[in-house]
Amino acid sequence: MIRFESVSKTYPRSKRPALRSVNLDVERGEFVFLVGASGSGKSTLLRLVLREDVATRGSVHVAGRDVARLSSWKVPHLRRQMGVVFQDFRLLPGKNVFDNVAFALQVIGKSRHHIAQVVPETLELVGLAGKERRLPHELSGGEQQRVAIARAFVNRPAILLADEPTGNLDPETSAGIMRLLERINRTSTTILMATHDTGTVDALRKRVVQLESGVVVRDEAAGGYSTGALRAVDEADRSPADPGWAPARPSTAEVWR
């Protein structure tokens, strides 16, 4: 689904590359955590998948296509196969929940009939049924993030990118968001999530890709946030049928309190 072949990225006006010959292969339906310190290149990697930027060297393939070779007018079509969620939700403050989600479909020209059908379904999926008319500021952080996820998922993308989606949320709310993402993942949606949230990564035991100064230093099938936290895990433990998730240990945020 996503393939990086010795990808390097150096931003203009910067000597140090943000990514250095990164090789990465993400299959359809995988759930991948992208971990690493700030500035390690996680966001750059996500930007390359989105084709917000183009790799300096190497090639990035998304859904079977070399994104660097896409003409600029085809890039929107590539992005319609992806959903993106951010730490700061990025909702439109003047639009209610329904309209925020519908916006994503309106601007790619979906019919009103289609919107009227799909948006309530998606709101139901993310657990916001009955809150369609609320404005973003009337919602809690977790609810706002659910709206953002609904907006990212409403067009049923093959890939969901998440840049620290739990970064602004308390551990309990984060757990709820992660359950939602796992549910979306079970619809064979590929999820690539950049995060600092130790607890979440350790608890879910998904594939972990760790970046350090733009280099992939670890790519572990059922890893924890850091190598130190790594426990011996049986293959069986990370079967997709793994039932609901519960925090195995307090997250950093909790420790700080």
């Binding site: 989105l50 600029s72 007018w73 929107p76 079509h77 590539l78 992005r79 319609r80 196969q81 992806m82 959903g83 993106v84 990025r90 439109l92 916006f103 994503a104 309106q106 601007v107 790619i108 020209g109 979906k110 019919s111 009103r112 907006r151 990212a152 067009n155």
Partner: protein
């Protein structure tokens, strides 16, 4: 759906910075009034040329009893002198330049004078005897009037040879200078309008960067993201153009046709139909101006 979406985006954009929109409308309005005024002045010049160059003639004025020119020392022109002048005009030397010759008697001159200055004091005090007899010579090529002028210089009985183009030239000069001045103002105002439109679009793009960012991420086409901004600028400029057309129409309808035609009835003036001729040009200039300013600004300040 998308048409509705575009319309609501444009309206909300225009509402969001009303002051800027109004200033864009006003600046375009003023700049296009100058453009339109320049165009109308040139149409006036063309119209006068068409009108006059058809009628332009060289007048060979013959001496009256009061003439003081050196060629008139013998007093009023004698019939033989008059016949000699006519013979010269019809001679093989001048014939190629002359299309037709018409004799204007004192009575004709008086009638024309009365008509031209009807109602003024000078018409009442003039007498037939003060006016010259003349040959009105129409030339095959109006620019060759020098030939006739030089030919009759010093001929006894001829007081003066006058080319009417000489009389008209100052008018044309005035109108051409006015056109140049209007054009200069138009140019400065158009630069101001372009910069103002660019700034407005830039502000608008900035205040809506959240929406456009989301549109980009969910895969809205480049065109759909940029179009509301582009149309916003174009719409404001077209409103300015419409105001300019309205102002020019009012000026021609009430200023020229309603007043100047009677106050200074020397020649035909531009009419309202010429305003309609200029109107599409003004709208085109507005669209082009706003379009160019928007596109250059968007390519710099709006990521798609």
């Amino acid at each position: 759906m998308r048409v509705r979406f575009l319309a609501s985006e444009i309206l909300s954009g225009l509402r969001r910075n009303t002051a800027m929109t109004v200033s864009v409308v006003l600046v375009t309005f003023v700049s296009l009034v100058f453009v339109g005024a320049g165009a109308l002045l040139q149409l006036q010049v063309d119209q006068m040329k068409d009108y006059w160059y058809d009628r332009v003639q060289v007048s060979v004025f013959l001496c009256t009893a009061d003439s003081e020119a050196p060629t008139c020392t013998s007093g009023e022109v004698t019939p033989s002198q008059r016949d000699a002048v006519l013979a010269e005009l019809e001679s093989p030397t001048l014939a190629p330049y002359v299309e037709s010759v018409q004799f204007e008697s004192k009575a004709d001159a008086y009638a024309r004078f009365q008509e031209q200055f009807a109602g003024s004091a000078i018409a009442e005090s003039a007498t037939e005897d003060q006016l010259n007899e003349s040959f009105r010579v129409k030339l095959t090529d109006p620019t060759k009037y020098d030939v006739v002028t030089q030919f009759f210089a010093g001929t006894p009985g001829v007081e003066q040879v006058q080319d009417q183009r000489r009389v008209l030239d100052p008018f044309f000069t005035v109108l051409n200078v006015a056109t140049a001045v209007a054009g200069g103002f138009a140019l400065v105002m158009i630069v101001a309008a372009a910069l103002l439109i660019a700034t407005t679009i830039r502000l608008s793009a900035f205040s809506r960067r959240r929406e456009t960012g989301i549109m980009r991420l969910v895969g809205a086409s480049k065109l759909l993201i940029q179009l509301p901004f582009l149309l916003e600028g174009v719409l404001a400029a077209v409103v300015g153009a419409a105001l300019a057309v309205g102002a020019l129409y009012a000026a021609v309808r009430f200023g020229v046709q309603g007043w100047l035609v009677e106050a200074l009835p020397l020649f035909g003036y531009v009419g309202t139909h010429q305003v309609w001729l200029v109107a599409p040009v003004l709208v085109a200039v507005a669209v082009l101006l706003a379009g160019t300013a928007s596109v250059t600004t968007l390519s710099r300040y709006l990521r798609v």
